[in-house]
Symmetry: C2
């Protein structure tokens, strides 16, 4: 369709100049480059190798790059699970780093021969995802959900399992149940808070805002929280964490200052991987299947490529994966 030569004819330039502009070659005038980029975006230009469409899919970090987490690793594993069969290759990149000055994101993807992207993001970078999606580039976001149309995403259903978790604590006769959540909200975490509130009020427990603690989503956050609790006169008997690492930190610090878990304090965390088995006692946690999430992301992306995807155009692909509450050793009946 829209080839380099077609663009060239349209813009009354040579193919050479268009190619240079698309590759951010400095030997092209700024004004010309801008015109070429605009035309390429408008005409939905997609580079090919010879006559073959490229078969790369990007796992793209929008925002902080944090490959380090087991969650990302599992996600990637799921992504690659089905890719080989379709002849796709997986490319890792950091969108902020990869994009050249005065280049749109979708253009950067095209320059690298990428057909579609799985965007791994955090709330801080939500805008970035919206921007990329609005440029019309096929992408699926993991780790955030969006209200507006036109943005595809896959997510875990945090709401119902959060409800389950809190109900489990209430079944154990806990009443002062605190929710511990990251300082910055994303939609996933908002769901977790909603689940907490729902379960509490349904079972006739008052939700006191002072029972919702905001901490950084790191191990240190959990440690600090325990130190705060230790000073309280009327502290909660159970904690529900919306993130894995603070839950671990809290368990360790609590034991360090002599509390017995679960006798003196019950803890429920989240787990993307196998962390719940690495602490003593093993941790009751809500588990999400990150690998399956990766598979779903890939399938959503291929759906966007297909004819059906073209029809959907503005209505996006959205999938939700159920999560499970796994009961282990960090929760027990309230001890009064």
């Amino acid at each position: 369709m829209a080839s380099i030569r077609y663009l060239a004819k349209e813009l009354k330039l040579s193919p050479a100049t268009v190619s240079r502009a698309l590759n951010n070659n400095p030997l092209v005038a700024a004004e010309v480059r801008q015109r070429v980029l605009n035309a390429a975006n408008k005409l939905q230009y997609v580079p090919t190798i010879g006559r073959r469409e490229t078969m790369n899919i990007a796992f793209a970090y929008a925002g902080d790059r944090s490959i380090g987490s087991p969650f990302d690793a599992a996600l990637m594993e799921g992504l690659t699970d089905r890719m080989e069969a379709g002849g796709f290759d997986l490319l890792i990149l950091d969108v902020k780093r990869a994009v050249h000055p005065r280049e749109t994101f979708s253009h950067m993807f095209r320059r690298k021969g990428i057909r579609g992207a799985v965007l791994r993001t955090t709330t801080a970078a939500k805008d970035l995802c919206i921007q990329i999606a609005e440029e019309g580039f096929p992408c699926v976001v993991v780790g955030e959900s969006f209200d507006r149309d036109g943005i595809s995403f896959v997510r875990s259903d945090s709401l119902s399992s959060s409800r389950d978790a809190v109900n489990h604590l209430i079944d154990l006769k806990h009443e002062k149940i605190a929710m511990v959540v990251n300082q910055v909200d994303d939609s996933d975490h908002l769901d977790r808070i909603a689940g907490y509130r729902e379960a509490m009020s349904t079972r006739g427990l008052k939700v006191d805002d002072r029972l919702i603690f905001r901490i950084p989503a790191k191990r240190e956050g959990g440690i600090q929280l325990i130190r705060r609790l230790a000073a309280m006169s009327d502290r909660p008997t159970a904690l529900f964490f919306a993130d894995p690492l603070p839950a671990i930190g809290a368990m360790m610090e609590a034991q360090k200052i002599g509390w017995n878990i679960p006798r003196d304090l019950s803890i429920i965390g989240f787990d993307d991987a196998e962390l719940r088995f690495m602490v003593n006692p093993t941790m009751t946690a809500i588990c999400q299947d990150a690998r399956e999430l990766g598979r779903m992301a890939f399938e959503s992306l291929t759906l966007l490529f297909s004819q059906k995807g073209r029809e959907l155009q503005n209505s996006a692909v959205r999938r939700t994966l159920p999560t499970q509450l796994e009961c282990h050793g960090s929760t027990g009946p309230v001890c009064s």
Copy 2:
């Protein structure tokens, strides 16, 4: 150099047929494809996009795919650290899955436009690495070392820090110090055993082969080991683990059966990531900087591309990264 058309002329075929053969298109006769592949390998054919050399680097799993580990995640992070500046992109693949029937590995890499590969491997797949290296494809192995010439690799220096670890235990007056190591050996683990033996004999302690325990490198392995130790009449007072997960499992199981760590048992593990901080007490461990290892792997690879690399040809690039012993709460003086 060796282009498709050059190959075609050489083999008295059309460029079309050569292209098909190289892409494993089924519409080409088996005998012809074989001839093309042989010629491509002999003439060191490298595909290009237009006239530009491809800029992909592969993070290739040779053997079991195990992206899941934090070690791999950190490795990848290190790899990508410097890549963007050089204009390279990182491609993830599983060599066994990616390779087509009757296709050499180097050919598969070339088909995908890959300039060089970082091979992440295990001992079980050591042969695979040797094969790829012998095909002459630029690659750097991580996680294994090789005696023979012509194979580049980056590794952590396990020997000296293993010595440090055991010496630390001896300083704490331990005498019955056991070494716990994976059932299958790789050169890295052999180094760790060597370090153990060296330290023991230098300090005048006898190395009893019954003090070297072989277990699967999983959490469960450590659990099983503790159960075995519990039944022994004259059990070791300290354990030196060559792998992260069994050390964690052992700590948990030991505490479960009522042993106090470090009073009843001192434990030293390995840590690629942050696991040592997630257990209680925090774990004394040998830490390797997987991220730096990734950076080194990338730099070694680019060295192989450069002119200097051409000269080296048969003598390979080899780098070793020091590791550190970090003392935390899981080791203490022997208690008699």
